[in-house]
């Protein structure tokens, strides 16, 4: 088998194993409580009868392994069981809501926000990172370094509220809250998601720029680049023919890694702007201890994170010139 294929398959296998491990961890968090979940939410009202009734209505009376396989195969089909939220009032079946119905529209919103951020942030960050690497130690590089360090170190909600203060309250360019619904048109959606997207863009550009700068500097200081310069090639030829083929891997890693970072950033930013996405849903369900919804959200976040990191690794393997020409 071609060595590239072999490495890629190995990496895919490892990724799959990680996913299974993560799904087991997320699922078994429900089993963590010593007295069980029913006892914890019933609190003072926990008698053996009520605990049994709650367990039965939530399906918690069956063995954990059975429930795990039901859950994971359901998740593969996009079904995550029923939410605990409706069940809280009378434990009846009338007001139960499917988790997938709750998640579906929100998943689209979060994806919309993430895609919008990526489209703006990736080109700007890569261009700025390259400029910093090429003109390193210039005043431009120093200012960029101090600014990006400040942005990375600040909490997302600080960046968000500063933007709200200037762009929504003082200048009144954008709405301070991003309330969108199913009927919001595409343009309207973009307009309302402008501030959350700007916040995420700022945070991500800082990360991406620093990583891009570091990896390009590492690349430009390697001996073969010096060799190319010494044999008299023009700077353009050095960059296009010698640096770029080796730069794809680090650049792809930087992009995928930062998109994975977006997964976490989106939670806080969605809450700040009350944007109806998965992040806000997860925080709500955590406050209400609605475990099926929280677990489904966690699984979606973790799987996205793992898949993006996997993608970065695979791109790095596939674009590695040393692996493409085996001896």
């Amino acid at each position: 088998m071609h060595p590239v294929m072999k490495t890629v398959l190995q990496r895919l296998g490892l990724g799959l194993l990680t996913l299974i491990g993560v799904s087991i961890i997320i699922f078994s968090s429900l089993e963590l409580l010593p007295g069980g979940f029913a006892e914890a939410i019933l609190g003072q009202g926990a008698t053996p009868e009520t605990v049994a009734a709650v367990n039965e209505s939530l399906g918690l009376d069956r063995p954990a392994t059975t429930r795990y396989f039901e859950w994971i195969f359901g998740a593969l089909k996009g079904e995550f069981g029923t939410s605990f939220a409706g069940a809280g009032s009378g434990w009846g079946s009338a007001n139960k809501r499917l988790v997938s119905d709750v998640i579906g529209p929100r998943l689209y919103n979060t994806f919309f926000l993430a895609a919008m951020t990526a489209v703006i942030a990736v080109p700007i960050a890569l261009a700025l990172g390259m400029l910093c690497a090429l003109y390193r130690n210039s005043w431009f590089d120093r200012v960029a370094n101090a600014l990006t360090l400040t942005t990375i170190a600040s909490p997302e909600f600080f960046v968000a509220y500063v933007l709200v203060f200037f762009f929504a309250v003082k200048l009144r360019w954008f709405p301070p809250l991003s309330t969108v619904s199913d009927t919001t048109s595409f343009l309207q959606h973009t307009f309302k998601a402008a501030l959350p997207a700007m916040t995420l863009t700022l945070v991500i550009i800082a990360h991406m720029m620093r990583m891009a700068r570091a990896s390009i500097i590492a690349l430009l200081s390697s001996p073969y680049i010096e060799m190319a310069k010494l044999k008299g090639l023009s700077p353009k030829q050095v960059i296009l023919n010698h640096a770029l083929p080796n730069a794809w891997a680090p650049i792809a890693t930087v992009i995928a890694f930062n998109l994975a970072y977006l997964v976490v950033g989106v939670v806080v930013v969605e809450v700040v702007f009350t944007y109806p996405g998965i992040g806000q849903l997860m925080v709500d369900s955590v406050s209400k201890r609605d475990m099926p919804v929280a677990q489904a959200c966690a699984l979606i976040f973790a799987a996205t994170y793992i898949l993006l990191n996997l993608l970065a690794d695979i791109i790095a393997i596939v674009t590695n010139p040393r692996l493409l020409h085996p001896k």
């Binding site: 301070p176 976490v264 955590v286």
Partner: protein, 304 residues
């Protein structure tokens, strides 16, 4: 041939430790000095909060949302408590909780990491695989889920009082995976070197090797990592408190203070920005100092 008499009085002696420290601090770049001053200021506020703060932590001193005045520099919050006092108490609570969390995390991760690197047996293999899986879930997401399950309050209020025990333990455990990874990898690169082999051959015990050979060599990197992990944990706790599942009211904490006053921003008031800026300033300061410290100790500069 005349020999100059030796000027004994003005002979240079070896610098003492304190002289060296002062010289080192003087040579620090502006950003690092700024960072150290800021950290010292925060530490002062945190340690002497009850003495500095003009009013009590949850003392109600006026009307809700009172404006900024000479008595109340930053105004009053949603139930009439002095915002400035709460910001000062917040230094004590938020920094204290983050610091305890990181200390526990280094206790678990550091010890296990070094032990795994030195013994390199089955334990190392098992721990490293577990850490790989745990690290592939983003900390904020993982912490949110565990908090949903275990609840945000403290299961033993009679022993630990208002301390958010669940939050501290969950974050310490999740963060210790990162510490483990670094401690194991750096300790491993030291443990395979010749001087460790020499110590082993002369019959030193494992504890001696760890304390005299390995720890001194990985210490600078671990100290720098301590600063960075502190920033990360501090930001995560603030984010969780902001989301309403971290440190709980009435404890004054910067993350939840931002959440409590967030509606004010739409009226053009800067109240929510004050605690948020307090968080940002501290993490920026720590980052500046760590940056300088890393350059100083490792001699690594990305320009080379």
């Amino acid at each position: 041939m005349s020999t100059q008499p030796v000027d004994i009085l003005n002979m240079r002696t070896r610098r003492t430790w304190s002289q060296n420290t002062i010289r080192l601090l003087k040579s620090a770049p502006f950003s690092a000095k700024f960072g150290m001053v800021v950290i010292a200021f925060y530490m002062f506020c945190a340690l002497f909060a009850p003495l500095i703060a003009p009013y009590g932590e949850s003392e109600i001193v006026g009307k809700a949302y009172g404006p900024a005045s000479a008595q109340h520099w930053f105004g009053l919050d949603q139930i009439g408590r002095d915002t400035l006092s709460r910001v000062i108490y917040g230094a004590k609570n938020t920094i204290g909780i983050a610091l305890v969390t990181v200390l526990i995390s280094f206790g678990i991760g550091g010890v296990l990491g070094i032990y795994a690197a030195v013994t390199r047996g089955l334990l190392d293999n098992i721990l490293s695989r577990i850490v790989d899986v745990l690290m592939s879930i983003p900390v904020l997401i993982f912490a949110l889920m565990l908090l949903a399950m275990l609840g945000k309050s403290n299961p033993y209020p009679e022993i630990f009082g208002k301390l958010p025990l669940n939050l501290i333990l969950i974050l310490a455990l999740l963060d210790s995976t990162r510490v483990y990874r670094l401690a194991r990898n750096t300790a491993l690169s030291v443990a395979v070197q010749d001087f460790v082999e020499a110590a082993r051959l002369r019959g030193e015990g494992m504890m001696w090797i760890v304390i005299r050979e390995i720890v001194p060599n990985i210490l600078p990197l671990m100290i720098a990592e301590f600063g960075l992990r502190f920033c990360f944990v501090f930001l995560t706790i603030s984010a969780l408190s902001f989301l309403g599942v971290g440190i709980q009211p009435p404890t004054a904490d910067w993350g939840s203070m931002v959440a409590e006053s967030k509606t004010l921003i739409t009226f053009g008031k800067i109240q929510p920005l004050i605690p948020a800026a307090a968080i940002a300033l501290l993490t920026v300061a720590v980052n500046f100092v760590v940056d300088w410290f890393l350059q100083k100790t490792s001699g690594l500069r990305d320009e080379q």
